[in-house]
Point group: C2
Chain length 243, copies 2
DNA sequence: CGGAACATTGATTGTGGTCAACTGCTGTGG
DNA sequence: CCACAGCAGTTGACCACAATCAATGTTCCG
């Protein structure tokens, strides 16, 4: 894996300026940056702060089960504001890098004052958390009652929403087909959709047998029939009746 | 069921002033109320607005499965600010009253300006959504990898967090025991923890056989050993190994 | 190459969904 | 008052299916 020398300085990644895409005034931006510190993490490392801006990579929040059951209850992607603070007593759950990550970690003591001082930032912050809340509601709906194949289909469509996961080029050419670069490992994907890695593997194979996807490499798959995949994701494969 | 005369005027419910408990200036409060309208809903009715303050009752957000699988992907309780807006194209999912509900429905066109104008409201709003986000993450963790008995234990402890669900009196007397008034039906509870009503019934019976709870009435149960219930909720009942 | 990490495949079994029948309760109306 | 309908919840029998465990395969490094 690249970038194993975590804290060491290195050339700026092209996507590192995702921060510049956030719509806010320069003044607000400067004020935010004044109370933050950029860090680089490798896969597996815990986030140093409960709040930050994810300028590159994927972060997963793990819940706390007393035994070591792996699980990923929420995903953050490049361009997301992260705010995991809560009023509740025990701060259970922990955020970890699922890929190599660039993070602008905020000083949680100071960032609230910055938010309060800048109306545009407050609006942006609310919009971000609100969207993540909505995404998580959808995800909960998947976990509540869907079959593994429906969950995986749903997760694939969700990953497609982030441009950095979509492989350019082949996309337009093949009509409705889209080639996806899965940013996370099977293990984490399985944890996210609430099944075991073996099941993910079996479901991938099933989808490929049905010509709906094509597994090109371990983490590169082509969605060949988006419409059919969406139909499955919306509940098109309920469990068989007992008869 | 009481209050079947939905829109008809009636005496103010004691808990209707939960709104007064929100920490904000009078000016902010007046400004909010100027852009909102109080409504009363009975069980099953959809919320008239994507944003509001829940002054009494329980609201559930249902996801959208193409077949009619019931599910409740998020719960709101008395005292919660509700903001279900999202940038995403299709506004899937729908909020419905799971009990009789009193709601101060906000005008979604105007409420953002009110938030922008009042710093205290912005801070409050962020804190609320952030907390709901955190609660939902915990819930996702439950759904991802826990067994039905663990999920139900977790849900019971979650419901205990809202004082209106706790039956006063017997609570203090019995030491660690707490009597809970379940605000929602078995069906909705099952949908929330991602199992079928039959399973909820079986798990309740199992918990009662183990003397951890006592089902006093259909919707009144006594948690007799909170510590043991919490141990289960945290992952104390994994599925048996195959051997 | 060798080795570790990641991923897949196969055989087996526990278990929660499914369906169906039943109980208990409440309100309605004759 | 009982009869009845309607709804919420429970119980039982059955079995599809995903978790388990084990072994093998693949990829990616040094």
């Amino acid at each position: 894996m690249m970038w194993t020398n975590g804290t060491q300085a290195r050339a700026v990644h092209p996507s590192a300026d995702a921060f510049a895409l956030l719509e806010m005034s320069d003044e607000t931006r400067d004020d935010m940056l004044a109370h933050s510190s950029p860090v680089q993490l490798e896969r597996g490392q815990a986030l140093p702060s409960l709040a930050g801006f994810l300028s590159d990579g994927v972060v997963g929040v793990a819940g706390a089960a007393s035994d070591g059951r792996p699980l990923v209850c929420a995903l953050f992607h490049t361009g997301d504001l992260i705010d995991l603070r809560r009023r509740a007593r025990r701060p259970q759950g922990e955020a970890r890098a699922l890929t190599a990550v660039e993070l602008i970690a905020f000083d949680v003591e100071a960032i609230d004052a910055v938010i309060g001082a800048h109306q545009d930032l407050a609006a942006l912050w609310i919009e971000q958390i609100r969207d993540q809340f909505a995404t998580l509601r959808d995800h909960c709906a998947d976990l509540s009652c869907k079959t593994p194949i429906e969950r995986l289909a749903s997760a694939l469509l969700e990953l497609r929403r982030w441009p950095e996961n979509v492989v350019a080029g082949a996309a337009k050419a093949q009509g409705r087909a889209v080639t996806l670069r899965l940013p996370i490992l099977r293990n984490d994907l399985a944890g996210y959709i609430g099944v075991k890695p073996e099941t993910v593997s079996r479901v991938f194979r099933k989808l490929e047998e049905e010509k709906l996807i094509e597994i090109q490499r371990r983490n590169v798959i082509c969605l060949k029939d988006i419409a059919a995949i969406r139909r499955i994701a919306n509940g098109g494969r309920p469990r068989a009746p007992t008869r």
